[in-house]
Symmetry: D2
Subunit: 341 residues, 4 copies
């Protein structure tokens, strides 16, 4: 992430203005307020403003008159209770506002979370900077390895083969994967080079189309139309405001290992922001969401049988292959129970 000196100066000038307030304040978040936290090659997240803290959740849940905190220990107990029983409305009582710079293809996933407010930099009215996302070479090599994994299988499921066909699909994929192996380092470098060249070419056309307006010789095409030649890797930016409940929902989905690497990079940074902002909530979120496991009716029956020392036959319980694999990943001890069957 490069940020021009004038923008950094604007940020620091804003940070320098400190005023007294009667509102709840979180020192750990004030520390980083306004400062860009780098993500990917040119992106960032900046916390612009926030409302509320751990105590504000307790205060709302109790509809209380004062600050609502009596003891940290009882606040913690109540927050865990609310998280566990999905009493979500008190978590809506905290709010955060972010300035985010992100590639357009990430923005398109991000915007699917509708319960938030957004102001995006307008490419209808403003010229976009020549900034686009390029993957790390290492990532490219990794992605290639994983591609015969979940995403391919999910696609196959969406294409709806007969269930029997699906059972064998991953195997043949695995075979091919074995044959091809990891992307060679020099091939990965070649791929990145081609992606870069293509983006540069697109941006050059963009500037040519805009042209006359900016002193450059060109066609003077309207910005809203010229931008259509830019690649999905182009960086955009927006102000994004969301309440804590919906932010946690966003993080649960986007910090997940099934999320695309690039949006996950933003989610990881936001997890840190949440930890600074509302540490008690973060702890409860980890225990009851991030590290929690949901057992379906069939999975629960499998666990009960295993606890009774009986053998477990996933198929007869209606547990598909993938569901069983996921269950064993969460509770590795079950693998033995299945073998007993």
């Amino acid at each position: 992430m490069r940020l021009e000196a004038d923008k950094l100066a604007e940020i620091e000038a804003a940070r320098a203005e400190v005023t007294p307030t009667r509102r709840p304040t979180v020192a750990a978040l004030e520390e980083i307020l306004g400062r860009p936290l780098p993500v990917l090659d040119h992106g960032f997240v900046r916390v612009v403003d926030y409302m509320g803290d751990d105590a504000a959740i307790v205060q709302a849940a109790r509809v209380s008159y004062g600050k609502g905190t009596k003891q940290v220990s009882s606040d913690r107990a109540l927050i865990r209770y609310l998280m566990r029983h999905r009493h979500t409305s008190p978590f809506e009582m905290c709010e955060i506002k972010l300035h985010v710079k992100l590639p357009i293809f990430v923005a398109r996933q991000w915007i699917r979370h509708r319960t938030a407010s957004v102001n995006e930099y307008s490419a209808r009215y403003s010229v976009l900077d020549r900034e686009f996302y390029l993957p790390d070479r290492e990532l490219l090599q990794l992605v290639r390895l994983e591609r015969s994994g979940d995403s391919v299988r999910q696609e196959r499921l969406f294409d709806a083969p007969a269930p029997e066909a699906r059972a064998t699909a991953p195997q043949s994929t695995n075979n091919r994967q074995g044959r091809e192996g990891k992307l060679e380092a020099d091939v990965a470098a070649d791929v990145v080079r081609r992606m870069k060249r293509a983006a540069e070419t697109d941006f050059t056309l963009y500037e040519k189309l805009l042209g006359a307006d900016d002193g450059v010789e060109g066609f003077g095409i309207a910005r809203e139309l010229a931008r259509t030649v830019l690649p999905l890797s182009t960086y955009t930016q927006w102000y994004w405001k969301i309440d804590l409940h919906n932010l946690l929902h966003f993080l649960r989905l986007r910090a997940d290992r099934h999320a695309q690497h690039e949006i996950r990079a933003y989610a990881e940074v936001l997890l840190d922001v949440v930890r600074r902002w509302v540490p008690l909530v973060y702890e409860a979120f980890e225990d009851y969401r991030l590290q929690a496991v949901e057992l379906s009716a069939a999975a629960r029956e499998a666990v009960r049988r295993a606890l009774r020392g009986e053998p477990v036959d996933p198929e007869s319980l209606g547990l598909g292959r993938r569901e069983w694999d996921e269950l064993v990943a969460a509770l590795p001890e079950l693998a033995g129970a299945a073998r007993k069957g």
Copy 2:
């Protein structure tokens, strides 16, 4: 539920109009379309309209051109996959519209679900019928038995005692409960009689306040003001429209045993409606939501230890008394593991 003859006639007249459509149609739901399904003493649920069926979810998930169904078996597999992985947006593609008659105190809980459309009968502009909810005597006796249970404990938690204090609270409550026992049948009858008399008195005042407008001698007070003397047990009615995803969320919370008996009565009827409407979704909802169990990080650790045959000490894992009780209720075999400790 009494329904005047003219209203039943209106309903049947509407039902008699059958037209051909190219849209997906669900015969099992058409059967009951428009007909009031009774709930509580005067309430009902009527399915007024619906959009989509099981296949419509598959169609949307695949963004397909035709009806989207190839085989029921693959539709079922995809629906279960979507439910399991919380890909919620395809479930939003089905919609249902209901006419509901319900007591105001139930309506106040119901309306908390914001992602729905509502048109309520207006007591600002219209006169309310003399209809109010009275609990069954049996329910009253039951409720009394349960009242030292969850609700009292939850209230105590909201009042935030020190965690140690909480551990002993339920016990003393249990003591009292033991001493008092079940509400005598004649006392329950007395309670219902008093509630009835109070509601009747309120309605009589209401009509007196309105008065002149309706031929009755009275004060001619505006309806919007006169209604303020009516009890929360008064019946209101509304048109309520919601998508399937949000309806399932509603049902998960309101068909739960922690929900108040009266709203749960509506939820039970709606579960039947969903089963008629989208049977594959209903089955997946049961398996992955209604009968599912979520294990927190600590609960998961407890299960893993028990599976390994090790003793489990809930406290050292950070599992509070209530959380442990809930876990044992879901996986009774764990009780033994704890005893081993």
Copy 3:
């Protein structure tokens, strides 16, 4: 509004905690932060927290790096531009959290605004105070006078008479209104007395039903059930959090002269809060919303004809009686044009 000394002490204790912040701060709002602003006989509004100020809207609209303000004059111009062209998203970037005490019948209107977060004091788990709303005698007299006005006519429209019938309806209503005149002061006093007695009786039953739990002899009925005998005038309270755009929408509807007096009393207080908080937005809101007039296609044609000095025949333009009356109320000069016809 009475507030117990301990609650006022809690509020003042919370107010005494002042901390420095880098966030935008609004001194005029900090002044009243936490303090109850009285509404009706027992209600209040308390500003618990807020996020953003006038400059924050500009900052978001420009997706800028610093505080976003260069000159007040240009901020004002941009805010007015955004308001005029209904670029609503920047106004969503400000947020406010309120603690409100209000009668249940008002709460039921209020909650219809779905784009907000709410935590209500729970009458399932807590006992409600003996507090209920009683209208002023003066209000009662006023309300009676107005009741043959809008609300009655609107009801008739909903009942859908033939359009010709509607044209004469208001007249006969007016006749009756003329005949009956204003509610006598002593009759109004009698009405209030009856309303008070009824509410007192309901509360006494409520306390009797709860009984045993609170030292009082009684039935020990569950709170969630006992509350159903309370009147709609009972006070409840909640934390309510909303963004500025949606708050302005709420105010446009609820500060309107068609809104019920009681919710309008809250809206008036909230208008003052907005004026303190974001004075430039408030000014634009007044000019472009509160005091604005919308001309339908037909109304516009009427105005154009009048501007050309031509006679205006509302009926031939498709302007109904009520629509024409509303238009003349907004542009009294049109009355003359119609007479010319």
Copy 4:
């Protein structure tokens, strides 16, 4: 719009299935149900399903038991009343589901409307067809002419010049526009050719990156990453479901002359769909929204003065140049009043 024969066959097969229903049915909409309505060069809109009709709005507003229609004339009067007074909830009682194919840059504007349900074709899991949007030559020439108009001025306002500076900006722009004139036809053709070549090149790289998976020699990069090289003009498709109230809001903004040409093309098609579906609503929407004019406090004062025959000085009333121009565009007769001043 080209649509492969197999897809058209799927559509017609689905259309052939006609079943009887008790639900309200709209013959004029059934006629086009499922059939792609072409938009731009490769896009389309298909009505996949719908719920409700004009009568359903009346039915919900009256919370009625039957079909709710007594006479078309009274339904029309009520619908116009609801539209005029912004009683929006009954319009939420109708719902429509569309399958839309559209360029990504249009999709990005479209998705800003959050109160809708979306299922987009996934470029993470599926390969995108080689289809991208190219503007008409005529459009390009037109756009160039307009570009010194609103969009440029709006941009300047967002950049926040001093108000005086803004007053002269449009003039110099006009000068330049005068100098340059319209884009020559052969230059426009050149621009389109360059845009086409760039998109083709991007797609060729995309296919090369995917490669191995599809029999083509290539790099076998994951789809989610390969797609980032595609231009914003690439076509995507989605299922989109929205209620009538929110659809009208969408149309008011997107069928507006300030909307970008490409999204407006979709809005125009949707206006036709609405006209077929709910003709009474459409008529009211035209009269009270599309052709309505809003007068601010200052504009209202200007109109009143003009009606009284007094001269009008926009500046002294606080009407900026642009606001005055917009007012005169809506009420041309005002131009004379200003000259009198």
